[in-house]
């Protein structure tokens, strides 16, 4: 059964159709990658899902409930957590305090106590390998540690779906391997569904189970990673350009 369903979703900014009639479904426990050139509408699509943007037209359903108009804090409490393209943490707080906010507020009806939230936060930090940095201010973490911190904050409330926006950009090979392992472990251990926008093709090929290619706000093609990468339109519209980058 589809956990998340986007039905003919449009998002217009003035005259620009950033997302133009997209249908996407993500099944329970699946890792779905969304790729496409710069400005294709990938980030906008994720923002529509988590409520940071509201669709101009179309409907979004999650776990059988319509969330098309739901505000971000509601969506989060219903079980969708997002990690954004640029790290966004609360700089005046420690790693543990950051993650504890997610544990305490990120789930409706949980009414967790302070200590319980801190405990859950500690577990989430251990999960991403940051246990020994828990009392550091987040400003003292480097880029990949900050990314892992955000992953920990996202999973701390126990969501059912993770929306990740280019969380592997700028990582070196070792960090990339570590990220891939963590995301795979999140899915395997917690059975979370993952929708993941990514430019790093190597990571997409090794982690994604299905790939959706977006261009100019519409879906160019979708399928298994290996199939999609051979698709002529993809090679032409996207991969050629991507190869030149690398």
């Amino acid at each position: 059964m589809a956990l998340l369903e986007l039905d003919q979703v449009h998002k217009h900014f003035g005259g620009l159709a950033a997302v133009n009639g997209v249908n996407v479904r993500a099944d329970d426990g699946e890792i779905l990658a969304i790729v496409g050139p710069n400005g294709a509408g990938k980030s906008t699509l994720l923002k529509l899902i988590v409520g940071l943007e509201t669709p101009t037209r179309g409907a979004i359903r999650f776990a059988g409930q319509e969330i098309t108009q739901a505000p971000p804090h509601r969506v989060r409490q219903m079980g969708i957590a997002m990690v954004q393209q640029t790290p966004r943490h609360f700089a005046s707080m420690t790693a543990l305090e950051n993650v504890a906010l997610g544990a305490l507020f990120g789930r409706a009806g949980a009414h967790r106590q302070e200590e319980q939230a801190l405990e859950l936060a500690g577990e989430a930090l251990s999960f991403v390998g940051l246990a020994d940095r828990r009392h550091d201010l987040v400003g003292h973490l480097n880029l990949h540690e900050q990314r892992f911190l955000e992953l920990a904050r996202a999973i701390a409330g126990g969501p059912r779906l993770l929306a990740l926006d280019e969380v592997m950009a700028g990582l070196n090979d070792t960090e990339l391997e570590a990220s891939i392992a963590i995301i795979r472990a999140i899915r395997d251990q917690f059975n979370m569904t993952i929708i993941w926008v990514e430019h790093v093709m190597k990571a997409v090929m090794s982690l994604a189970e299905r790939v959706v290619v977006l261009d100019f706000g519409t879906i160019l093609t979708e399928g298994l990673p290996a199939e999609v990468m051979r698709h002529p339109a993809v090679v032409k519209a996207y991969l050629g350009q991507e190869m030149n980058h690398a």
């Binding site: 988590v50 971000p72 804090h73 989060r76 609360f90 707080m93 507020f105 990120g106």
Partner: protein, 285 residues
């Protein structure tokens, strides 16, 4: 001179606490509450009336604090509703206009019903010598209460999840929403808190000098100046700015004259905006 400085510290602590309410409400919700002083005065009048009705002072003061919090809640539920529909500059401007309206309404009402109303709380006992200067017990009690309140605020914001949730909204509203925090709920909480703090300042101020129905505008003005100097959304900054400006105010009033001290304070605020737009403790973006 030392006497002036001590007076300035007493006053400055109270300025600081007034500014905390204003600055947090602004930092959280982009709402600048120009009725802050009138809320303080109205709470003081509640205390005065309760006392006149024969209630013991602790109960009267409790009612005053309750009234302050209630006024914050009522602002949130009524006059600020249209403000919440706007964003950015329009939001700040509408909040200025509407709360200015509230301030006139409250002051007009108090002036009509209790024109001669005033709250003055005498704390008995002789003066206590501090650094060779005799200080009235009222001033000391007021300062002690204010300091204890500041300490409680620091603990709240540093060590409780609710306090950290409020800070998270001030730091990054969208980020806070993404971890499941509803910013408006935090704003409502802080509006209530700011009302309670305004009432507390009115009550402790009345231990030093009488509060009458016309004190509102000067209270708002001082609070606004301290808020600007301390940096918007910054509790520690409000404390520091309150202390500095309290001392500046007391010394200037003594050396030059009361009429000039407000101008000096406004000048200090203008200078702060020009040199450190984020406030004394603010970090440059």
């Amino acid at each position: 001179m030392i006497a002036n400085i001590l007076d300035g510290i007493v006053l400055g602590l109270q300025f600081g606490l007034l500014a905390v309410g204003l600055t947090l409400v602004y930092g959280l919700g982009g709402v600048l509450n120009l009725a802050h002083g009138q809320m303080a005065v109205a709470a003081a009048m509640v205390v005065a009336l309760a006392q006149a009705a024969g209630l013991p002072i602790w109960l009267a003061a409790g009612l005053g604090l309750l009234a302050g919090g209630l006024m914050g809640l009522i602002l949130d539920l009524t006059i600020l509703r249209p403000v919440y529909r706007l964003r950015g500059e329009a939001r700040v401007l509408l909040s200025l206009l509407l709360t200015l309206g509230v301030s006139f309404t409250v002051e007009g009402f108090l002036n009509w019903r209790y024109a001669l109303g005033a709250l003055s709380l005498r704390i008995g006992g002789g003066a206590v010598e501090i650094l060779g200067v005799p200080m009235r017990r009222g001033s000391l009690a007021a300062s002690a209460i204010t300091l204890a309140t500041f300490a409680a605020l620091f603990l709240f914001f540093r060590y409780t999840s609710l306090g950290r949730a409020v800070r998270s909204v001030i730091e990054d509203q969208e980020g806070a929403r993404l971890v499941g925090i509803y910013p408006h709920r935090m704003l409502r909480l802080i509006l209530v808190l700011s009302g309670v703090l305004a009432a507390l300042v009115a009550i402790t101020r009345a231990m030093v000098t009488p509060i009458d129905v016309h004190s509102g505008l000067s209270i708002t003005t001082f609070a606004l100046i301290v808020t600007v100097v301390g940096g918007l959304g910054n509790v520690a900054g409000a404390l520091l700015a309150g202390l500095i400006l309290g001392i500046v105010n007391a010394v200037a009033a003594d050396l030059i004259g009361t009429y000039i001290s407000l101008i000096i304070l406004l000048g200090a605020a203008a200078l702060t905006i020009l040199t450190r737009p984020a406030g004394l403790l603010g970090v440059r973006e």
